[in-house]
Structure formats: C-alpha cells, structure tokens
C-alpha cells in the first residue's frame, strides 16, 4: 500500500484572538494534500482572511496585537502563494511587470536562473489575451475578472504549489465565477498544485472544492461540511448534480449564518487584552527605528541584486515625493525666501539702510530656516503621498500579495522607498534652499545690492569661520530629517491598514511624529552649537 503523500499544509489547534481579546478562531485544524482543493466557507467576520494572514504574515499579525497560538502549523513557505481579494495587482507595475516580478521571485530554484519566461504565455494559460502583456498596459485597465485571472497567472508563474485564494470571486458575475472555477480546476490538474479557497460564494466553493470546511460562527472552530457525502468539485460533474449540491450547500450556509451570524467572538482574559494594548502602543513608537535599521541593512543588497526592482519602486517614490510636488516647493520656497528677507530688511525701521541689514544677514536666513521648513512641508506633502501609497497597497492587499510571492516587502518595498524618500528630501531641501535664495535675491535686486547671489550663497558654500557651525548644523539637520522622515513615513505607511481611515490616520500621525522629530532636533542642535 502506497504511503499517503505528505500534506502540503497541516494546521492543528490554531487559535487566533483579536487585539481587543475577542477570539476569532478557536481550535482550527486542517490538512491539505497535493493536488487537493479545500474551500473554507464562512460568514463575514468569521476569520477567513485572518486565516490567510496566519499563513502569510503571522509575525505582522502578532505585531498588530493578534494572539496566534497553534499546536502545529507546517507548510513550505516557498510553496505558498496567494491570490488576494480582487487580485491585488501591483499598481506601480503594469500587467507584464506583475508577471515579471512573479517570475523573478519564483520559488522553483531549478528555474529561477533559467532564461526569462514569456509573461504572455502565463496570460494565455489563464485564458487572457497575450496583448495584455504588452509593456505599459496598466493594471487599472483590467476588468475584475481579468484582474483576478492575472492574479492567478501571477501566483502560478511564481511556481507556488500551495495556492491560497482569498475571496477570488468578489465582484465577478456568475459567468466569470464559473470561468474562474474552471481555471482553478484546470491548473490544479495541469500543475498538480493544491489550493485553499476562502469564500462565501457558494457557486465558486461548489465548483472547485475537493473538500469543504466551515469556519463556524458558533464555536469559532473549523468544521468539515458534507465530510462523507461531498462528491468533489462540481466543475467536474454534470449540471444536475451541481445544481443539487449548490442548493444543499447554500442552505447549510444560510442556516448557519441565520443561527449564529450576529454573535460576537467570545472575549479572552483581561491580562491578554492589556498586553495586546501595550504592544499596540509600543509598536508604532518603535516602528520607525525598526524601519531605519532594516532599510539600512537591506538597501545595499537590494540595490546590488535587485537593481531593477529597486529602481521601479524608487522611481515611483521619487515621482510622488519630488517630481509631482516640485512646483509647490518652488513657489513656496521663493515666497518664503522673499518674505523673510524683505521683513528682515525692514526691521531696522526708518533710518536704517535695508541693504546694510541684508549684508549682515547674508544667506543665514536660509541656513536657519530651510531645514525645518522644508522638512515639515515635505512630510505634509511628499511624505503623505508616499504614506498614502504604501497605506493603499496595504489596504488593497498588495503588500500581502508581495509576501505571498515570496517578495520580502522590507527589501522590495521599504528599502528602495526609504532610500528614494530620503533622496527626495535631500533634493527638496536643496531646491527649497535654492528657492529661498532666489526669493532673497529678488529682494536684493529691489534694493540694488551688488553681487547679491554671491552674498546670499556665501553662507552655504563658503561660510565664514564663525558661521560654519550653523552650516554644519543645517546639513546635519537635513540629513537627520531625510532618513528620519523616510523611516517614519515608511513605518506608518507600511503599518497594518484594516480600513481606509487607517490610511489617513497614518498620514496624520506621520506628520505629527515627523514635526516632533524636527522640533526635537532643532532644539537639541541649538543646545549643541551654543
């Protein structure tokens, strides 16, 4: 008798509690054999998506305050792939880029170094037109069904053997649901992969499932459905049988939801909730420092080994943080430079020559003001843009999809975004200083100050000895703000985003935190140079 193949996934006694102490999953056990499709059914809030996160980002889940306990969770991380809700295609890449990324990070070591595969062939495999692989085809142009198929193609291209499909039928019409179900079955047969399909779509569940499980809202356990009677995936059966099982399955599910759908998860101990709350408070404080250290550690290797990925993400962040708000920074800096020097030139009042005051001031107003002003404006404009982008990636599960492709988000996303954001700030600070100098030059021109540009830039490029410390301080502050702001923006933008409001909360929190960072360094350095 041949030995049963080793399951691709085995979970025993899994217990997950929410940060507030409520138990979401209590004692779930599951094993999936190669070539098997298991469907997890359940109502909203049953913990289906959380189950996926236990597999893909258990650490992040625990950092977010979830309590995850399991007797056993065993699977090969390299085999696990995810098709998130609505596909979660990477919108900073085109269709081809999504597939290219999967191909570059494919888990099959034998093919990793093989010549580049044609992404179009993977589109064909899931029934899509090869033309979609043409460079420059944005993912936003795809329909929901196409996006879902591209997501499937992406995870298949990454050579994952254990697919986790999270609500893959959301937003699809019945025809597209049937097509998706057939696609899944075809790939299972063709490639021998296993799949976990999390859904509450009865048609999809019946169409693909070899086995069915219900995440019970009654006792928060994972219960097999039709354990002995389920005949297998309905896409492989005739229509009459399919119809009968659809009705049966739907009735079972509806009865369960009617009976337990509004029940809140039970609470756990006070101690556990307090600990989770403490953890939640500490995590955001430590996160920027964590980002700084990891980004610093990963940047060189990512830049050397994944130059293309680094450039793609870096260019996107540079566009958000520098190119797009360029006009804003230019206008504001010139306005501030003009206003500040004009006001200073007038402080002497009647009888005091404005140009004499300007001669005394030189470019010191830029040295004193440019770092702080540019930093706060940068956080509010550029930082918020990148923060929102990262937050949206989290909200739309793109970051989860990255992890699912075996792409470490810290390497792929954080390191280049951190570097690009830091570089963007250095550019913005330089531009801001130039703008302020130009504004000052306009004031000088008004008063006929000779050789005004040299006078104003003297404090920057050739400061007199007693002013060198102020120039060094300004350079130091700009450096600190560059990586400090980048770290905080990445930390807050990359943090858990359970809902859309979390994105704006992250932006606001980052502006406040970075402003405090700026204030702290401004004051601390004043103490040092005095």
């Amino acid at each position: 008798m041949a030995a049963e193949p080793e399951p691709r996934l085995r979970v025993e006694g899994l217990r997950v509690a929410l940060p507030d102490g409520r138990v979401l999953i209590d004692g779930a056990s599951l094993a999936i054999a190669p070539g098997e499709v298991v469907v997890l059914l359940g109502g909203s809030g049953a913990g289906k998506s959380t189950f996926a996160r236990v597999l893909f980002e258990r650490d992040a889940l625990e950092h977010a305050g979830f309590e995850v306990v399991a007797e056993k969770v065993s699977f090969d991380r390299g085999e696990l792939g995810l098709v998130p809700q609505r596909g979660a295609l990477f919108d900073h890449l085109d269709v081809r880029g999504n597939l290219d990324l999967a191909l570059r990070y494919r888990s099959d070591e034998d093919t990793r170094d093989a010549p580049d595969e044609d992404p179009a062939s993977w589109l064909e495999r899931v029934g899509l037109d090869r033309e979609l692989a043409a460079p420059g085809t944005p993912v936003t142009r795809l329909s929901g069904g196409q996006a879902q198929r591209v997501a499937v193609a992406r995870v298949l291209a990454s050579r994952r053997r254990l697919l986790f499909l999270d609500e893959p039928s959301v937003g699809l019409d019945p025809l597209r649901v049937r097509q998706l179900a057939r696609l899944i079955r075809e790939q299972v047969k063709t490639l021998g992969v296993s799949a976990i399909v999390v859904t509450h779509d009865v048609a999809l569940a019946a169409g693909v499932a070899d086995r069915l499980f219900l995440l019970s809202l009654e006792d928060r356990k994972l219960e097999p459905l039709f354990d002995d009677t389920w005949p297998g995936a309905m896409e492989d059966r005739d229509e009459a049988e399919r119809a009968r099982w659809l009705i049966e399955l739907e009735k079972t599910l509806v009865d369960h939801l009617a009976a337990h759908g509004d029940r809140a998860p039970p609470r756990t101990t006070i101690r556990a909730r307090a600990f989770a709350a403490l953890l939640r408070r500490l995590t955001p404080l430590a996160a920027p420092f964590q980002v700084a250290a990891t980004a610093l550690a990963f940047t060189p290797s990512q830049l050397a080994r994944r130059t293309r990925d680094f450039a793609i993400v870096g260019a996107r962040v540079l566009a958000q943080a520098f190119v797009r708000p360029l006009v804003f920074y230019s206008i504001v800096s010139v306005l501030i430079g003009y206003t500040v020097l004009y006001v200073i030139s007038k402080v002497g009042g009647a009888g005091v020559r404005p140009d004499a005051l300007i001669h005394q001031i030189g470019g010191s107003y830029v040295i004193a003001l440019a770092p702080a002003l540019s930093a706060i404006l940068f956080v509010a404009a550029s930082g918020s843009a990148t923060n929102a982008w990262l937050g949206a990636m989290g909200l739309t599960r793109q970051t989860l999809a990255l992890e699912a492709l075996g792409v470490d988000r810290r390497r792929y996303l954080w390191a280049p975004a951190w570097t690009a954001l830091g570089v963007a700030y250095l550019l913005v600070a330089s531009l801001f200083a130039l703008g302020m100098l130009f504004g000052g030059w306009l004031v000088c021109r008004q008063y006929g100050v000779p050789d005004a540009w040299a006078l104003l830039t003297g404090d920057v490029v050739d400061p007199r000895p007693e002013r060198v410390r102020y120039t060094v301080r300004a350079a130091f502050l700009i450096w600190m703000y560059a990586w400090g702001i980048a770290s905080d923006v990445i930390a807050k933008g990359g943090a858990e985003k359970p809902e859309a409001d979390a994105v704006t909360r992250g932006m606001t929190a980052s502006v406040v935190a970075c402003t405090l960072w700026v204030v702290a360094w401004e004051l601390a350095t004043v103490v040092v140079i005095l």
């Binding site: 004499a356 007693e466 301080r473 040092v528």
Partner: protein, 506 residues
C-alpha cells in the same frame, strides 16, 4: 525589537556625532601670532602692505576672503625709518614773510612799518635833547626786504662777513631843530643754531645850517643819531622779526619752531623765506619717520605770512603732540567713545562699549595723489558684556584742501579712507573682531564725509584763525585773521602751505 534597538542606536550615534562634526568641519579662524597666520589658511590668505614705500607708518594686513564679499582681516602698524634726528632737526618747514607784511608802502596799520612808527613814537614822545630839540614825528618810513646787489650804497654799512640779503628800513625822525634821516639794515646771521639780526645803522643829523652841521660833526652828532636809531628802530624791527613763538599746547607743553641751519632767502622788495625746523624730543625709542628734503613751491609774491610745512614738519608736529599726550587729550575731548557709546542706536542695538582712544604710535601723514592721508593706530578697550578686549583701530583720513575766497574757515574736505579693527586678546596675537560692525561703519564712509569735513575744518580753523601769537618781551603780536590751506605733493613728499592772513598788532 532588535531592529528597533539598532535604529535607536543609529539615532544616538548621530546625536553623538554632531559635536564631532562641528569640530571636524570648523574652519580655521584668522589668528596672527607674531606675524604668522595658520598654515591651513595660507592658500586663501593675502598679505598686503599699504602700498606705500619708504619711511612712515605702515600697515600690514592679513586678509581671508569668503564668498559674497565677506572678508576677515587683521592688521598691524609699524613705524619704519629712517627717522628724524632730534639733535639735528631738518629744515622741513619755512616761513615766508612777504613785503606786504613789512610795509605796504604807506606803513599802514598791521604792517611791521606801522609797528616801527608806533614803537618809535611811543618811545620818543617826551624825548628832548638840547642839541636837537624835542621829538616831533617819524616820517618817510619804509621797510623792505633788500639785497645788496640792488642797493650798492648799502655796501658802506655792511661788514665783510655780512649776508647780502637783509631787511632795510629807512625813516626820518623829526625833532623841532633837526631831522634825522636813518637807514637801518637788519642783517640775518645764524649763530648758535639761532637766527639773529645784526643791526647796521646809518643816521645823520641834518640841521640845515652849515654852522650847526659843523658843530654837530665835532660833537659826534652822527654817532649820537646812530645810537638813537639803533636803539629805537633796530631793536623794534628785531622784535617784530623775531623767531616764531612756541605754540602752547596746554599743560605747560609747547610746540617749538626753530630756525634751522640754512640761510634765509631774500628777494628784494618781495619776500624773505626763513627755513624752520620743528623741535622734537625722542621718547621711548620712537621717533617720527623722515621723508627727507622737500621741494618747496615758489613763495607767493603778494602774501603776508605763509607757513610752508613739509611732511617731515607735519609729522614732527604730530609726533610732538602725540609724545606729549596732547593728541590723546584731544581725542578724549573729541569724545569719539562717548559719541559711540551714547548713540541711541548703539545703546539700543549693540552690546559693545568703547573706552577712550589712545594712539599707539604717532600718526603719520603721507602724500596720496592730490590729497594728504593721515594714518594712525589707536588702542581702545572694547567691552562686550563682561568680556573686554584690547582693540587696535587703524584709521586713515584723506584731506583735500579746497580753494575758496573765504579764509575765515579752513577749506578742507575730509573723507574716511580706511577703518579697520583688530583685536589683541594676548600680546602679539591678532584676531579679527566685530568685522561686520566695522564693515558697516566703513560702508557709511559717505555718510561720515560731512561730519568729518566739518570737524576737521573747525579744528584747523580754531588752531590758526583768530589767534594772536606773541612771546614774552616782544611788544608786538601776530594776529591771524584767516588761513588759506593748500597741499602740493612732490613725489613721496608734499608741502602743506598755510597762507596766513596776518597782521601785526602793537
């Protein structure tokens, strides 16, 4: 958590690095110790002297320039020789006494001739002698600069070693019985480094009667007349032409002019030029620099009294006034420090306060194109809160003497040519200080022009105009009603000409 701690460590490392960064990137300040600047500044250091060569007060400046026209500099002044010799004063000045001062042809009031008439009349008002009768009046008075070449008759009065140039006075003293025509020659002679006048007199009694003339001859009446003329006219003239009296400087200090060793130059009927030197006294090894011989311009033919001062004379005067403390007192009296400290803008905006200035070295005047530049280094204590530093102020004033008809006020145009401040926190250690403040003052040179001009015009005017100069034992005084100052440069040297509108007061 390890990553967070690593990130925190990065922050701490940065915080600790800041003081090091500030130290590391600190740029060397300009500090000149014993004339040496820091080596790292040498590539951008310029050392320039004031451009003047030869003797004088020289200012060496070490300058570091930064972008935008910002400079930091320190300077030091040195006095370079050769120096004037107190024991052998050079003829660096002269006084030109014009014919108009002696006699305008009518012995008008204010002339020496008028003084002579007044002196004789005063002395002889009650004179009576049984031979000649009572004194009545003096007539036909003429006093003139004369040369033997133009007046061969005077040869009989002169002695072999007498100079061929002299003052020639003629007059007729009338008594009720006789008229005494007299001729007095005052022949200048240099003896014991002093200009003296030898009196040569010829007087003859003329009774207008052969008998009386015969009697007079036998009684040696001419000798009597000559003695009378020598006593009354000769001594009076000598008094009037005496050496310039010492100029009182207050506190018992005087500025003394001496006739130097060269013979006077006399031009018949025009003027006499009397070479002078300024008496100086060495002090602490410091002496006024010596530029050397100066070419005086031609004397004015229509002047009364003209004082030509070569720059050596000017600098000797400045030296003496510096040595005796007169200049420091004048500086204190001018109250530059008080004006600065009490200025409302200074009180409101600045923390520094100045002590009275005192000159570290004697000021020096040099020729600078069509101007004269007065340069000086003054010491000042600069208080800045509880901190006090010794400052060395280097200043230069450019004088351009303007021609004008009004001689009651010296026409001069004064501009600030140089102003620098160097601090000396320790002996022989020079550092820049308050450079921006000084630069701001320097930038205001145009604004200061009016005040400087007014101040120095008043000082020079007060020094000469309206003064009566006299000396003990001399009945006449010189009254100066106006002065017309001009400067003429000649190479490195120059002559400051003070044409005095002067007259003699009895």
């Amino acid at each position: 958590m390890k990553a967070a701690l690593a990130g925190l460590a990065i922050v701490v490392a940065h915080a600790l690095a800041l003081p090091w960064l500030i130290d590391h990137f600190a740029r060397a300040e300009l500090i000149v110790v014993d004339g040496n600047a820091p080596a790292e500044l040498i590539p951008r250091l310029t050392i320039d002297d004031d451009g003047a060569r030869g003797p004088g007060l020289h200012h060496r400046r070490w300058t570091v320039r930064y972008r935008g026209g910002v400079t930091r500099s320190v300077g030091a002044a040195t006095l370079e020789g050769p120096f004037q010799d107190p024991l052998q004063a050079a003829c660096s000045a002269r006084v030109v006494v014009g014919q108009r001062f002696l006699d305008d042809g009518a012995a008008s009031p204010g002339t020496v001739a008028h003084t002579v008439v007044a002196a004789i009349t005063g002395q002889m008002r009650d004179y009576h002698h049984w031979t000649i009768g009572s004194f009545e009046r003096v007539t036909d008075v003429h006093v003139a600069w004369a040369q033997l070449a133009g007046r061969p008759d005077d040869m009989f009065l002169l002695r072999a070693h007498d100079a061929p140039s002299y003052v020639r006075a003629t007059a007729t003293i009338e008594f009720d019985r006789v008229s005494v025509p007299i001729t007095v020659l005052l022949v200048p002679a240099l003896r014991d480094h002093a200009l003296r006048f030898d009196v040569r007199v010829r007087a003859r009694l003329d009774f207008g009667n052969r008998l009386f003339d015969w009697i007079s001859d036998h009684l040696d009446g001419d000798r009597f007349a000559t003695d009378l003329a020598r006593q009354e006219i000769g001594e009076g003239l000598i008094d009037a032409l005496g050496p310039p009296p010492p100029l009182p400087l207050g506190g018992g200090r005087t500025l003394r002019f001496d006739y130097c060793g060269r013979p006077p130059e006399v031009v018949d009927g025009a003027y006499a030029s009397l070479p002078l030197s300024v008496s100086i006294t060495g002090a602490g090894g410091v002496l006024p620099p010596m530029l050397g011989d100066v070419a005086f311009p031609a004397p004015p033919r229509d002047g009364t009294v003209t004082l030509d001062l070569g720059l050596d004379a000017v600098n000797a005067i400045l030296y003496e006034t510096w040595r005796t403390g007169f200049l420091d007192e004048e500086l204190a009296r001018a109250g530059l420090d008080r004006r600065f400290n009490d200025d409302p803008s200074v009180q409101e905006l600045l923390t520094i306060r100045l002590s009275p200035l005192r000159l570290a070295l004697p000021p020096f005047v040099r020729a600078s194109g069509d101007r004269l530049r007065l340069e000086a280094e003054a010491l000042v204590n600069i208080g800045d809160g509880a901190h006090a530093t010794l400052g060395r102020v280097w200043g230069g004033l450019d004088f351009r003497f303007a021609n004008g008809r009004d001689t009651s006020k010296v026409g001069v145009d004064v501009t600030l040519g140089a102003l620098e401040l160097t601090c000396e926190p320790a002996p022989h250690t020079l550092v820049p200080c308050y450079a921006d403040l000084v630069a701001a003052l320097r930038d205001r040179a145009g604004d200061l022009h009016g005040a400087l001009t007014e101040t120095f015009a008043s000082i020079l005017t007060d020094l000469f105009v309206g003064r009566r100069v006299g000396t003990d034992g001399v009945p006449a005084q010189l009254e100066i009603r106006g002065v017309h100052a001009t400067a003429a440069s000649s190479g490195d040297n120059a002559v400051l000409r003070l044409a005095l509108d002067a007259s003699v007061l009895e």
